[in-house]
Amino acid sequence: MSDRVENRLFQNRYVVDVGRPHITVKPHVNPSDALVAMTRVCPAGCYSRNDQGQVEIVADGCMECGTCRVVCAQTGEIEWSYPRGGFGVLFKFG
């Protein structure tokens, strides 16, 4: 039960920049192992695989750690930038 990552993220504070996701997965047919690994390794559980096997991202709960950026740097499958100033996660304790 406590493994449900969204219940943890609910404790966090976010200002979501609606309609401007700061991370996007480029269109693909077969994701690389690195990208598939993110469905498990992303600490915010932002990545998931759809029925056709492609990896999708919903970045609303992103904590901007950069893990996916580093992991997928070689494959070039994702576009990663910081959210616009003031948007994204806002740590209360850090």
Binding site: Q11, R13, R84, G85, G86, L90, K92, F93
Partner: protein, 284 residues
């Protein structure tokens, strides 16, 4: 146009949690923000200024740290910020708050001229009363236009304004006269990001700070706890709902049977709803 915008620094209520065991409120780390409803008023004010020229003054009553919120309003592009802060205001209810703010607006008018429009948020997210705006309007004799979803026309030189206002079953189109106190509906606009120049200016701008005396408030009997007719006697957490959903339609023969079971249960719990739905269906 000369526009005043009243804002309030509030705790981000989305971050407030009630401890599930002790049933007490957990205050640690709850950040303060500008009351989100105020931002709809601020944005509308900035748009009017951009269109007609003039200036936007943001103001608030609050503790000294409320100047952070005012400074943030400056980064959005407001021209001037005023903070009314004094220990005499502690514990103000809506009546005492509207007294202090009306005086603040009066004093600001003496300094910088009378406003054409005073914007307030529809309500605050901590108090949710929606009463301070109307209170200010009443005290200053401003035209009261609450729950405005758009300003359709405005003529500052003739002092006329046409707005759409949210009513309970539809939208009223109202034509009225300035000066007015307007509260904007949520979703009617989106607060801008200030330009880099606004951010730089705000970083070093002075936030004008007045205490009660500086704002010309001499009758402290109308301020703070003393000036508040209402008294909070008790604060408590709502009881949490323990029981889970009652499952319906288990073992039913087909979807239609499940649906009928469900409808029976719904109307058993909401007996009035059935009549109202019929009523509504008949009207269609």
């Amino acid at each position: 146009m000369r526009i005043f915008v009243c804002i309030k620094q509030v705790p981000d209520s989305a971050q407030i949690r009630v401890h599930p065991v002790t049933n007490t409120i957990m205050r640690q780390g709850v950040p303060t923000i500008i009351n989100p409803y105020d931002l709809f008023g601020l944005e509308e004010a900035l748009r009017l200024r951009d269109r007609f020229g003039g200036e936007v003054t943001v103001m608030t009553m609050g503790p000294p740290m409320a100047s952070d919120s005012l400074r943030k309003a400056l980064t959005y592009g407001a021209d001037r910020a005023v903070l009314l802060t004094d220990r005499f205001f502690a514990g103000s209810d809506t009546l005492a708050t509207s007294y202090a703010l009306a005086n603040l607006i009066q004093k600001a008018s003496d300094n910088w001229g009378k406003p054409d429009i005073v914007f307030c948020g529809k309500q605050t997210i901590d108090g949710d009363t929606a009463q301070v705006g109307p209170g200010i309007a009443r005290r200053l004799g401003l035209t009261q236009l609450t729950y405005v979803s758009s300003i359709d026309a405005i003529d500052p030189s003739h002092g006329t304004i046409t707005v759409r206002r949210r009513a309970d079953h539809g939208v009223q189109v109202l034509q009225s006269r300035l000066p007015a106190m307007i509260t904007m509906m949520e979703g009617s606009n989106e607060i801008r990001r200030g330009r880099i120049e606004d951010a730089l200016r705000a970083a070093s701008a002075e936030v004008v700070q007045w205490n009660a005396a500086a704002a010309g408030i001499t009758d402290l009997g109308h301020c703070g706890l003393r000036g508040s007719p209402t008294v909070v006697k008790k604060v408590f957490a709502p009881p949490s709902r323990e029981e889970k959903a009652t499952l319906v339609g288990e073992g039913a023969a087909n979807p239609t049977a499940v649906a009928n079971d469900l409808i029976t249960q719904i109307f058993a719990r909401q007996p009035v709803l059935e009549g109202d739905l019929m009523h509504a269906a008949a009207r269609h």
